[in-house]
Amino acid sequence: MSPDDARSAIGARFSGAEVGTGTPLMVTVAPGHWAELAGFAKETLGCCFFSFLTAVDWKEQGLEVVAKVDNLDDGLAVMMKTRLGPGVSTCASLTPIYRGANWMERECWDMFGIRFDGHPDLRRILLEDTWEGHPLLKSYAVDTPHPPYR
């Protein structure tokens, strides 16, 4: 499926989605359509390769979750975004659709404190279990004391 076909297919399927014109194909949807969009990208657009998932902290505007999936056969790349809104830190999990999202979402929970509903094993992945706070949030002070070493 070519990028133009994918663009029109997404526009027809998700009425509220903002679809970009460049490459990779940027799609911004409401958080309610997040898992639905991922399922559509996998089943209909053929994006079977899960590239990455991360988040952006936009301070007052809240968190934004970003994921990129690829259709390696057709050279199609879809960058999916969703704005969770101010104060919201829950999002639908993509792990039931893409197994590769498992550790990415655990890292996202670790660094940004986003709880992914439907994730099978949402624990910290990089920091130890006793860590307090989520360090990549803008509100996290870099010199937070961490006994006994700092």
Partner: protein, 210 residues
């Protein structure tokens, strides 16, 4: 004077959730030099005997010569400084002529070269390897990261200097220090080892430069 060394319980891993919990057990272990009280009283007796100081100082000088001539660093590379450390161990700079053999077991080693960034997650393991080394033991902090945290000092995960975890004898500045710097640090360490017991205490670490 240090207290008695607590007995180490048998390692039953399934009783512990993770390594951090295991480390809590060893928090009470001293990191200073352990020594035998009996041996110390005997040598003190000889030292106080008229003319006995000749024997003890000569023995100290001999033992310190032996110690400084066979410092075995434990192979402990943490980051890019480890590359320079490997270069120092290899044939071009060749610390083996100083009696140093990079050894892959902390239980046979006298020296730990902390070469690289120490993260908060790595610090308990570092302390644990250090505790496995037999006394007397020394530590060299190599590079800016190990000295003070270096460029990652304001990171959320970095220990701001390895001297917050283990006692350090020599600080080697640089990012990373070239093999010549590390070699100079090792020679400084040998100077310190030469005065190890004769002064009754360890020499102060060299001045810390970031």
């Amino acid at each position: 004077m240090k207290g008695p060394i607590p007995e180490i319980p048998a390692p039953i891993w399934r009783n512990f959730k993770d390594l951090q919990e295991w480390e809590l057990l060893h928090k009470t272990r001293p990191v200073d030099d352990k020594h035998s009280v009996l041996f110390e009283s005997v040598t003190e007796g000889i030292h106080s005997f008229p003319g006995g100081f000749v024997v003890t100082t000569a023995a100290d000088a001999f033992l310190n010569w032996a110690r400084k001539s066979s410092v075995w660093p434990v192979t402990f590379g943490l980051a890019c400084c480890a590359i320079e450390m490997m270069a120092t161990f290899c044939s071009r700079f060749d610390v083996e002529r100083l009696g140093m053999v990079p050894w892959a077991s902390p239980r046979h080693s006298d020296l730990m070269i902390v070469s690289g960034t120490v993260t908060i997650k790595m610090a308990p393991m570092l302390l644990r390897i250090y505790e496995q080394m037999p006394d007397p033991k020394w530590a060299v902090s190599m590079g800016s990261c190990a000295n003070s945290g270096g460029p990652f000092r304001h990171g959320y995960h970095v220990v701001k200097g390895v001297d917050r975890v283990i006692p350090v004898d020599v600080y080697v500045p640089g990012c990373p220090p070239p093999p010549e710097s590390l070699l100079n640090g090792l020679l400084l360490l040998q100077e310190q080892i030469k005065h190890f017991k004769r002064t009754g205490q360890r020499a102060a670490p060299n001045e810390k430069v970031d």
